[in-house]
């Protein structure tokens, strides 16, 4: 996994609540058996005027000029501002894969759906929860300031605004450590293989029907 330490980048606003994973990456693209290449179909139904299917040349499709990420001022954005319950719906990891493949490194919003939140951390994508008033300020400042950028510092657990104000955020220490170092979860867990084997052996004796 790609490590995340400090990231500074252009901010784009996704000003709607309950953005679901079907909207982030529609189901027809879930038929892929690869982990990469989902970026061009991120928000496909909102982003293009035609209906997208796998295998299309996305560069030739008509873009929806009203969709926020198609506006020239947000081109190259790597930080997405979001509203309540972003990433609700299915457990598809294709959603963080698509966001990451598009170029996003951090998401800042009031709340994220549990499974999506979890999936982000496995892909070097940092979801940050901030109080509603601070998120509203960021939406206002993004709208008012073309080229609005933020700095996200995971080591210090702050989002730094252009005016120097630092917004503190919380993140589980274990997750933070993994992300800062880009550690592979599986490798970490397998260091405890003996403990897992012991647990399993006990369980097999106590509840043999689970091992039928």
């Amino acid at each position: 996994m790609r490590a995340f330490t400090v990231h500074e980048g252009l901010v784009a606003p996704m000003d709607r609540a309950n953005v679901d994973t079907d909207a982030i990456i529609p189901k027809q693209f879930l038929k892929s058996i690869k982990r990469s290449g989902f970026g061009p179909n991120l928000f496909d139904e909102w982003r293009y005027l035609d209906h997208g299917e796998p295998g299309m040349d996305n560069g030739r499709r008509p873009a929806n000029p009203d969709f926020v990420l198609n506006q020239p001022r947000y081109r190259g954005a790597s930080i997405l501002l979001t509203r309540d319950n972003f990433g609700c719906g299915s457990s598809r990891e294709h959603a963080p894969w698509a966001l990451e493949d598009y170029g996003f490194r951090a998401l800042i919003g009031t709340s994220f759906a549990d499974i999506f939140f979890n999936n982000c951390f496995k892909n070097g994508l940092l979801p940050i929860r901030l109080p509603a008033a601070e998120v509203q300020d960021l939406f206002d400042q993004t709208a008012a300031t073309p080229g609005y950028r933020l700095k996200v510092d995971l080591e210090a657990r702050v989002v730094v605004r252009p005016d120097g104000r630092a917004l503190a955020f919380e993140v589980d220490p274990f997750r933070r450590e993994c992300l800062l170092n880009g550690w592979d979860d599986i490798g970490l867990t397998l260091r405890h293989a003996d403990q897992i084997r012991d647990f399993e052996a006990r369980r097999r004796i106590e509840q043999p029907w689970l091992f039928a």
């Binding site: 000003d15 709607r16 609540a17 309950n18 679901d20 079907d22 909207a23 529609p26 189901k27 027809q28 879930l30 038929k31 892929s32 058996i33 690869k34 982990r35 139904e45 209906h51 796998p54 295998g55 509203r83 309540d84 319950n85 609700c88 719906g89 299915s90 457990s91 598809r92 990891e93 963080p96 709340s111 759906a113 549990d114 499974i115 979890n118 999936n119 496995k122 892909n123 589980d172 220490p173 274990f174 997750r175 979860d185 599986i186 867990t189 397998l190 405890h192 293989a193 403990q195 897992i196 647990f199 399993e200 369980r203 509840q207 043999p208 029907w209 689970l210 091992f211 039928a212």
Partner: protein
């Protein structure tokens, strides 16, 4: 100290804990389907790792599979490749059970687990699918995971987790005639919202829940994720134990007695403390119909579609306006005045035998309305299909002009050929009414099986309680 059911399930699976409380949880059952597993198997192989315990794996192909013309195979080459990739992966690594495309026991992963006794009380159950919450009906700690976690479970038989908070939703009293578990689920989501359960594991309790069959409890726990809770739970009682008796992977003989004794301990202690408690009066729940693009946008069938100005919060108001526009609805339209183009009876929420019996009871001796272009009835599994046919339900549906299909996820998420065309409006027994969920531009209204069948007959939403 008194413990909740969730506490008991959690504590009995912790292998080790990190200083910040992140736990390594042991996983008993790993359900696998074709959409969220290929990258996990590939990752495992690239890292030179082997699955930890093959006997924990139960696999099937359900999302991409067609629901008719099975003799032709899977025509969409991209779908076919995904299903063949699952075939190849399971052939290579093995599984406790694999129900491939066209197998007699193939079906929706959340239907086949319980019906085969592969979902047992006290288990941790995971699957790369958010509706894994379904299995919580058996007092399992069950939830959806991403593909990286699928790989993690394959490689280590464990999952890294932080403990959730606990919410008790108590539904007391008797449900009214024509009111089902689906209506309870939608009413709960209408009350707490789609993020109301975020960070929580929800236990459903109370006399109305105890009165539900296992299939009703599965419907309810299935929708816990639509309330934001990764896991839903119902305590074990005699209904649970009776359901499990004699199923293929259930224990038998002396082991059965030992297991059943243990299962009876899987209840919250009487004085256990929950982080949140919600009380709902069963008698006040009416048949529900969603009108928008989030399951929380729901009202009783006798009500009307709201207007944006009914909501104070500006983000919510705009969300309502956008939903009404997408759904092609005017504010204040009575729900019963909304005509439907298609009806879908199926999905991991409502495709079990009792769901089909209820829908058939409404359809019996009636015909679908002329304005309804298609009514799809998609059983949850091959076993459900066979049972329904032995009861003659297929003939009742066909006589009513409904189509009787092969099992699979079908038009719940439209990864196969079953889908809505842009602008089409559907009464659906599935779980999500998101934009484009059942096909790009399609408009989904979530309802119970009885209400879906009633809409098919009336041609518009109708109160199933009004049918004689």
């Amino acid at each position: 100290m008194a413990k909740t059911l969730y506490d008991k399930l959690w504590e009995s699976h912790v292998v080790r804990t990190e200083p910040d409380g992140t736990a390594l949880l042991y996983i008993d059952r790993h359900l696998v389907h074709e959409v969220t597993s290929p990258q996990a198997f590939e990752g495992l192989k690239l890292a030179g790792r082997k699955p930890w315990r093959i006997g924990s794996i139960v696999a099937t192909a359900d999302h991409n599979t067609p629901t008719r013309d099975w003799e032709k195979g899977i025509e969409d080459p991209v779908s076919r490749q995904q299903v063949e990739t699952l075939d190849a992966n399971i052939r290579e690594v093995g599984a406790l059970a694999y129900f491939p495309f066209r197998d007699a026991r193939q079906g929706i992963v959340h239907v086949i687990g319980p019906e085969n006794g592969a979902t047992l009380p006290g288990m941790t159950v995971v699957c790369g699918d958010s509706h894994t919450s379904t299995h919580g009906a058996f007092a399992c700690l069950a939830h959806g995971i991403g593909t990286s976690e699928v790989e993690h479970v394959l490689a280590t038989q464990c999952l890294l987790q932080k403990k959730s908070r606990t919410m008790l939703i108590r539904v007391e009293g008797a449900l009214g005639r024509g009111v089902s578990a689906k209506d309870v689920a939608l009413a709960v989501i209408g009350r707490i919202g789609t993020a109301g359960g975020t960070g929580f594991a929800i236990e459903f309790a109370g006399s109305a829940i105890r009165g539900l069959s296992m299939e009703g409890r599965m419907t309810l726990c299935n929708m816990a994720i639509e309330a934001g809770a990764r896991a839903g739970l119902v305590a074990v009682d005699e209904t649970t134990i009776q359901y499990l008796k004699g199923r293929p992977f259930s224990p038998s003989g002396e082991t059965w007695d030992r297991a059943a004794d243990h299962w009876r301990t899987l209840v919250s202690d009487p004085d256990a403390v929950f982080d949140a408690v919600i009380d709902i009066e069963a008698a006040k729940i009416e048949p529900q119909v969603t009108w928008g693009t989030s399951p929380e946008m729901v009202v009783p069938v006798g009500a009307a579609v709201p207007a944006p100005e009914d909501f104070e919060d500006p983000v919510k108001r705009e969300g309502v306006a956008r939903a009404l526009q997408y759904m092609g609805l005017e504010p204040r339209t009575p729900i019963r005045a909304i005509p439907v183009d298609k009806v879908f009876i199926g999905s991991c929420t409502n495709s079990r035998i009792e769901d089909l019996r209820v829908a058939a009871a409404v359809a019996r001796g009636r015909r679908k309305a002329d304005n309804v272009k298609q009514v799809l009835v998609v059983p949850g599994s091959g076993l459900v299909k066979r049972q329904a046919e032995s009861e003659g339900l297929d003939r009742i549906f066909q006589a009513a002009g409904f189509e009787w299909r092969e099992p699979g996820c079908s038009m719940c998420l439209a990864m196969n050929a079953d889908r809505l065309e842009p602008g089409e409006r559907c009464a659906s027994t599935s779980n999500r009414n998101f934009e484009g969920r059942q096909g790009a531009g399609g408009r989904t209204h979530l309802v119970s099986p009885a209400m879906a069948a009633a809409a098919a007959i009336a041609g518009h939403f109708a109160d199933v309680r009004d049918l004689k």
